[in-house]
């Protein structure tokens, strides 16, 4: 590996130590782990091979990107060049003026058939500052060897709330997002109306009342790795997590008694923002990298290493096989038609408005 994994504090020193004359260091921030590795394999390594004068430094600070970008902005010293964040964070960063506005058609590559970038990304462009990269989903994994289930298997998200047919501990994320949507859906609201129902008078209370029915049987997780561990140890019988984590548990680690429940999976996006206020030379270099890393082929390449769907429509037919397992990746994509029969489309704008308020109420409910 030619790469250097360097912590953020060292980047300044590295910039001074420099490589060849005229070389430029770009600090790319992402989530670390298997996800960063898929980006390194699909984007950064090929790019650095083609452009020896560019050195990409990896930083794994996406968890705290919003706060750090604001702090950098206040200090007037932006040390990051390209940051991987989820859509909700991108909206916040855009609102706060911390992320640069993107001119999709001029800054990004068109699809091979000439479709403009903005059309190719289509409805996934949810903010002026955000270049979507992958579609991931939060969905459920369950154990197939639960004796009390007497051979039944859950096939609907509402089975989470059915303690009689599917007794046992469940794992849900320790935040309101997705949970309140599933809960209100299971009170009889169609998936495409959940946000209207939640926004209506008493809507949230109704969702929390539904969650109340299983509250004593829920383990609340805070890290994406929790649910796979709890499932593997038999600590829970069913639990929500990111689909890539379940793929890794079931396919890569070969957990035979765990299956996926795709019903009402909640789609979300992950993608790039460029911090506002970069000096011109770094901005140019970053834009060149982004143009490469978000083209049709590169987005499809990433799916070789992780089971997240590419955000461009034109990338979908190019998705191939897993780089080491050799299995077809398409059936493991959340966007695969067989998996996406019934999906929850996450309403970013709605959450941007109500997240803090609902979070306060949700935490109050949890603490009771």
């Amino acid at each position: 590996m030619k790469l250097k994994l360097v912590v953020a504090t060292a980047t300044g020193a590295l910039a001074l130590a420099g490589g060849p004359v005229g070389a430029i260091d770009l600090t790319v921030v992402s989530w670390g782990g298997a996800y960063s590795q898929s980006q390194i394999n699909a984007y950064h390594n090929p790019y650095m091979e083609m452009n020896p004068d560019v050195n990409i430094i990896h930083d794994e600070s996406s968890y705290e990107a919003v706060a750090k970008l604001r702090a950098m902005n206040e200090a007037g010293n932006i040390t990051w060049d390209l940051v991987d964040v989820v859509a909700a964070d991108a909206i916040r960063l855009c609102d706060e003026g911390l992320a640069m506005e993107i001119d999709f058609d001029n800054m990004l590559e068109s699809a091979p058939d000439g479709t403009s970038a903005s059309e190719d990304f289509g409805a996934l462009i949810i903010s002026d500052c955000y270049i979507p990269q992958i579609v991931y989903s939060t969905t459920f994994g369950y154990r197939t060897d639960v004796a009390e289930w007497e051979g039944r298997e859950p096939n609907s998200v509402c089975d989470i709330f059915d303690l009689e047919s599917f007794p046992g501990k469940r794992a849900l994320e320790k935040r309101p997002i997705n949970n309140v949507e599933w809960a209100i859906h299971c009170t009889g609201v169609p998936l495409d109306e959940v946000y209207d129902a939640l926004g209506a008078e008493g809507g949230l209370e109704k969702a929390l009342a539904k969650l109340d029915t299983i509250k004593d049987d829920v383990i609340w997780w805070a890290a994406g790795a929790d649910t796979p561990q709890l499932l593997a140890d038999g600590e829970i019988v069913i639990g929500s997590t990111y689909n890539g984590r379940l793929f890794s548990l079931i396919e890569e680690k070969g957990a035979e008694n765990v299956k996926m429940l795709w019903d009402a999976q909640a789609f979300d996006l992950d993608g790039w923002i460029i911090p506002e206020g970069l000096p011109q030379d770094r901005l140019d270099a970053t834009l060149a990298l982004v143009r490469f890393a978000t083209d049709t082929q590169r987005l499809a390449d990433q799916a070789k290493y992780i089971s997240y769907g590419p955000a461009r429509m034109s990338s979908a037919p190019l998705v191939g096989q897993h780089a080491t397992l050799g299995i077809d990746m398409a059936p493991h994509m959340p966007t695969d038609p067989a998996n996406a029969k019934n999906t929850l489309i996450y309403d970013y704008k709605w959450w941007a408005d109500y997240r803090d308020d609902i979070d306060a109420k949700f935490q109050a409910w949890l603490a009771k």
């Binding site: 705290e64 604001r70 609102d95 609340w220 600590e235 408005d353 109050a364």
Partner: protein, 518 residues
């Protein structure tokens, strides 16, 4: 080396000289001492005192509303928020101007996010209004000025006008609006934005009414007078209607009330929020039941920190006693065992507790195997308060053992032997002789453990479940997720105050001089 001052004063000859030299040498000593501690002093100032001061300041600071919406704030001051009516047209017009300038500077969504903390939904109102502004039917203002002279359509003319100090003084707000526009659009060959003309009409009208135009001279007096003629006859549009048409939310009094309440530069709003209260129409009021969390979590944080401290004393005291009384070689081995957790990552230790305590974990498995509990009634020991207390007691234990050990090492064993030889039972000897001498160690350990525990964050997050979370978890949420740094700062300030009060109480009861770290 102290020299009594008397001796110098008594010296008849050279006394003054001696005094001077002594003063100089003392001053030099002081400077040297100061220089020696200077690096530490500067370090503490920069990394400790300054951030805390900044945090205290952020918890009340609220400049963003009045700096982004200055005209609106001024206009809203006249509005009676108890009245049944919406603010007047002048407020909406001022708001149109403020918002247009804010959009130009990309500040409108920031002020929207700020107000969204107080009243959910405002963020998207600001975001949407920012897009809708250009659709407002403000052509009549522009047309008036175009009719008054072609030059009014040129950015260069306006730039020239506002370089003239007398014009800038006469029309300060328009100068400000034009500069906002010019800053973003200079040299791009775009038509001047309508809000500049709206502002111009508004200010010229007021200036004409006050006869301020009469005494004006200079190169632009003529053109201004021309433009001012008939400015009152412009077919004004209703900005209120335009806003309400863009989003109904602008027609709600509560929204304007929120802007009015949070317009001062400093606010107690964050602190109110941090104690589950809010500012209502009639002063402060408690939040509805389903939004109250911080009181409960503060109480829980204190309770659990105290429990953890007591747990550390109970477990740490015997270990420290053993350490202090064993022969050195064996004590050293034991010491390594005490220190070992220190060298292990916090996350690893916490995860280890998960493996031990979970329902399918080691302890439950053992209990089931030896038949103490049935397979159906496995104990729930993690993801609750119990798990948090166990994991944190383990993690903080060395902070109790080390000061205790250091103090116990200094207690001469002959005291207890003397007590025993004078007839005391071993319990009495311990209680009356040994224990009182080890108290300073307990004191130091308690302060260390309690203060570390009260600010703990990672372990409660991982094993705390719903009832084991600490106030730091909420602070972290507000710092890194919601970006509501004001509320995070207010919670932090309250936590700091609570610790200082407890420290004071501790000092009164135990006495801080009675604390020894070794």
């Amino acid at each position: 080396m102290a020299t009594a001052p008397g001796t110098i004063a008594d010296a008849p000859e050279g006394g003054a000289e001696l005094r001077r030299r002594l003063r100089r040498s003392l001053r030099w000593q002081k400077t040297r001492a100061l220089l020696l501690i200077a690096p530490l002093l500067i370090f503490i100032l920069v990394t400790f005192i300054a951030p805390i001061a900044d945090m205290l300041f952020r918890s009340v600071e609220n400049g963003i509303v009045s700096t982004t919406l200055p005209r609106t704030v001024a206009a809203l001051a006249q509005w009676d928020s108890r009245a049944d009516e919406l603010p007047g047209e002048n407020v909406f017009e001022a708001f149109y101007l403020d918002l247009s300038i804010a959009v130009e500077r990309k500040a409108h969504t920031r002020v929207g996010s700020r107000l969204n903390y107080e009243s959910p939904g405002i963020a998207s109102l600001f975001r949407r209004a920012g897009r809708a502004l250009t659709e407002f039917d403000t052509g009549s203002y522009r047309d008036h000025f175009f009719a008054a002279g072609e030059a009014w359509g040129s950015a260069e003319h306006l730039a020239g006008l506002f370089e003239d100090p007398s014009a800038s003084k006469l029309l300060p707000e328009t100068a400000n609006a034009f500069r906002a526009w010019h800053g973003r659009n200079a040299g791009r060959n775009r038509p001047v934005a309508d809000y500049v003309y709206v502002s111009l009409a508004r200010e010229l009208d007021a200036a004409a009414a006050g006869n301020e135009l009469d005494g004006l001279d200079g190169p632009h007096a003529r053109s201004l007078a021309d433009a001012a003629a008939g400015v009152g006859d412009i077919a004004e549009i209703s900005f209120r209607e335009a806003f309400v048409e863009a989003s109904e939310g602008w027609g709600e009094r509560d929204l304007w009330r929120t802007i009015q309440v949070f317009s001062p530069r400093f606010t107690e709003g964050y602190f109110l929020n941090a104690v589950d209260m809010k500012k209502g129409l009639d002063g402060f009021e408690a939040r509805p039941d389903n939004e109250r969390i911080y009181g409960v979590i503060f109480a829980r944080t204190l309770f659990m920190s105290l429990t953890i401290t007591v747990g550390c004393i109970l477990l740490g005291y015997p270990v420290a006693y053993l350490l202090a009384s064993l022969p050195l070689a064996r004590a050293n081995i034991l010491m390594i065992l005490v220190l070992l957790p220190f060298w292990t990552s916090l996350l690893v230790r916490t995860s280890a507790w998960k493996v031990l305590l979970q329902q399918q974990g080691v302890i439950n498995d053992i209990l089931v195997t030896i038949g103490i509990i049935g397979d159906g009634n496995r104990l729930i020991m993690i993801n609750n308060q119990f798990g948090t207390i166990v994991a944190m007691t383990h993690i903080l234990l060395p902070f109790m053992i080390l000061p205790l050990y250091a103090v116990m090492k200094t207690i001469p064993p002959s005291y207890v032997r003397a007590a025993r030889s004078l007839g005391a039972s071993s319990w009495t000897a311990f209680r009356r002789v040994y224990f009182p001498q080890s108290l300073p160690g307990i004191g130091a350990g308690c302060v260390l453990v309690f203060i570390l525990a009260i600010g703990y964050y990672i372990t409660p997050e991982l094993v705390g479940g719903t009832k084991g979370i600490f106030i730091s978890n909420r602070i972290a949420y507000h710092i890194s997720s919601s970006l509501n740094w004001g509320l995070g700062a207010a919670l932090g300030t309250i936590l700091l105050a609570a610790v200082l009060i407890l420290y004071w109480v501790y000092d009164r009861i135990v006495g801080i001089d009675n604390v020894k770290l070794g």
